[in-house]
């Protein structure tokens, strides 16, 4: 049985549930927001063996029946009342401990997803797999950011260093006038690499590459910029496929959304590996069976480093 921890309203989970129903594979969907109201979890660890159960809706499911876990915890909304915020924080802490400790495959374990919390940390793992990485400056110094902008001939993007507020924006000359704001905290600046975007979903040992043509700075938000976007499933050169698999494995991820760009110089740049990829979005444009790949990976326990 696959245990799914997340909200049915989440497009990825909705799609995964649909495919599991189609394949007649047993699963249990629990929404973490219902924890301590709709379900409870207890587990015990002694001499390396985990024993425990889930109580939900009058039923009891032994954890021994759980063969794999898929999790997508949504952040606590900002307008959540303090009492609920505290309850959800507790739920996340309990689930976190289970997800780290259970011996079954977990997509993805919190400690493996956590490399996405420091993009420059992850960038060094990416570089070690053989991908090119763009020239990057991390600074809270206005003069350093200004110099970097000039050195890169004004072809610079900026984004957060963590996974919070992670939207890519193009830096323009008019931004030079507000660099003093940097003194509050560091920002990541990257040389803009012209080329073609690819999102590669790695599901265990399989890859599902999508080519994206867009004139937006961040194609995911093309409609915000009033820009166009088209996507199609493609095949990657074998070496690039191997690097994607190597990266996902190095990060210990069962599922990853690897963001690549083939530069005009012919090099393959990698920007990040997303541990919570929105695969359903890509699947609807390309027809790739990414959710099935995810189910197979969970059942086979592929990819967990």
């Amino acid at each position: 049985m696959i245990l799914i921890l997340g909200a049915l309203g989440d497009s990825g989970i909705g799609h995964l549930v649909h495919r599991l129903l189609d394949r007649k594979h047993r699963f249990l969907l629990l929404d973490p927001r219902d924890h301590a109201r709709g379900f409870e979890m207890s587990w015990e660890m002694e001499r390396g063996d985990m024993v425990g159960c889930l109580r939900h809706g009058g039923a009891v499911t032994p954890l021994a029946e759980v063969g794999a876990v898929y999790v997508h915890l949504l952040p606590v909304p900002d307008n959540t009342e303090e009492e609920n915020r505290s309850r959800l924080a507790t739920t996340h802490a309990l689930l976190h401990a289970y997800l780290e400790s259970t011996p079954v495959p977990v997509c993805n374990r919190p400690s493996c997803s956590a490399t996405n919390f420091s993009k420059t940390y992850q960038q060094q793992v990416i570089a070690a797999t053989g991908f090119a990485v763009p020239r990057t400056l991390v600074t809270n110094q206005p003069d350093a950011a200004g110099d970097f902008f000039e050195q890169c001939q004004g072809r610079v993007i900026y984004k957060s260093l963590s996974s919070i507020r992670s939207i890519v924006r193009r830096m323009t000359r008019s931004d030079l006038g507000r660099l003093d704001l940097l003194s509050g905290g560091p920002t990541q600046f990257q040389e803009w690499v012209p080329g073609t975007d690819f999102r590669v979903h790695v599901m265990g040992a399989r890859v599902y590459p999508t080519e994206i043509a867009s004139d937006a700075t961040d194609y995911r938000y093309s409609n915000r910029e009033g820009a166009t976007r088209t996507m199609r499933g493609v095949l990657l050169p074998e070496e690039v496929t191997k690097r994607c698999l190597k990266l996902s494995f190095a990060l210990g991820l069962i599922a990853a959304g690897v963001d690549l760009r083939r530069g005009l110089d012919g090099r393959w740049y990698c920007f990040e590996a997303n541990p919570n990829p929105a695969f359903a979005f890509y699947e609807q444009f390309t027809g790739q069976r990414i959710a099935d790949g995810l189910i197979d990976a969970l059942l086979d326990g592929q990819g967990q480093g």
Binding site: H35, A36, E40, M41, S42, W43, E44, M45, E46, R47, G48, G52, R55, P75, V76, D78, R85, S86, L88, A89, T90, T91, H92, A93, L94, H96, A97, Y98, E100, S101, P110, S111, S113, A114, T115, F117, S118, K119, T120, Y121, Q123, Q124, A127, V133, R135, T136, L137, V138, T139, N140, Q141, F148, L161, S162, I164, R165, G184, G185, P186, T187
Partner: protein
């Protein structure tokens, strides 16, 4: 030069700095940067030049840093409010330093990694490594059910440690009626001799502590085999420095807790000196060409 990121008043940071001064070696203690700090930071990767770090008006020659001891990093809150600029800046500083510390060729004690947590119950993920070296992890129950908690208490004997799931102090409970619910982690407490063991650079320093886990008593000669097993465990966990809470009794050596950012509270000078000295051996070692 050695850099220590530490909150003001950190005793171990002060000890290391004092010993470095005695050796005539340069050592600076910097508070973890955060919103409003005077920390100035520029770092480029792939690295064409060393990072630029300034704090309190002083510029640090990053290419001369031999070692970094991280006693504290900017600590993001457990639940992040995306609307809070303060939370956001704290998270960004944390992310920036994690990336930089991964890249520096200097020795970094317990080089920090995103998501690493060795506290119970997460420590259960490493139970195989404990078994390999002949240490046991104490039985643990994670629950939000009072009846499950009380059942565990009865099976364990006469007391458990109770660790709240989120924030809060771990307390010892010796009466099952005192288990009133709330999500928590319960750790079975065996009978035996309690030791707080600090392992650093392949050396173990122990103190016998009171069985309430807090009250400190006399110093201790650590059994050779236990010291060796603790040192091997730390290697398996890919760490340089770890604090373990171990109870030795008829059931063997049982680990009740571990901390890769030790509080480093000592009641005897031998342990205190020993830990600081061993840390300096790591921090003041010749520079490497590539990160560890």
């Amino acid at each position: 030069m050695v850099i220590i990121f530490a909150a003001p008043g950190d005793g171990l940071a002060a000890d290391v700095r004092e010993k470095m001064d005695e050796k005539g070696r340069e050592c600076r203690v910097i508070p973890p940067p955060g919103p409003g700090s005077s920390f100035k930071f520029s770092w480029e990767l792939p690295a064409p030049a060393p990072a630029r770090i300034e704090w309190d008006g002083q510029r640090f020659p990053v290419d001369k840093i031999r070692g970094v001891l991280v006693r504290a990093l900017p600590e993001p809150p457990q639940e992040i409010s995306a609307d809070s600029d303060r939370d956001y800046l704290c998270i960004e500083w944390h992310a920036a330093l994690l990336g930089w510390l991964q890249s520096v060729t200097a020795a970094v004690v317990n080089r920090p990694k995103p998501g690493r947590s060795l506290r119970l119950p997460n420590l259960c993920a490493h139970s195989e490594k404990f078994r390999t070296v002949g240490l046991q992890l104490a039985p643990v129950l994670v629950t939000d059910s009072v009846s499950e908690a009380r059942g565990f208490f009865r099976r364990c004997g006469r007391s458990v440690l109770v660790m709240p799931a989120c924030a809060g102090r771990t307390v010892r409970v010796e009466d099952e009626e005192a288990l009133l619910g709330g999500a928590c982690c319960l750790i079975a407490v065996p009978d035996g001799v309690w030791r707080r063991i600090h392992v650093v650079d392949g050396e173990a320093f122990a103190e016998i502590i009171g069985d309430d886990g807090r009250q400190l008593s006399a110093g201790d000669a650590l059994p050779e085999s236990l010291a060796r097993r603790c040192c091997t465990l730390v290697k398996l966990l890919d760490l340089d420095f770890l604090e373990l809470l171990v109870v030795s009794g008829n059931g063997g050596d049982v680990v009740l807790g571990a901390e890769d950012l030790p509080g480093a509270v000592f009641n005897n000078a031998v342990s205190r000196d020993g830990v600081a000295g061993a840390l300096i051996r790591i921090l003041d070692a010749p520079r490497r060409e590539t990160p560890q």
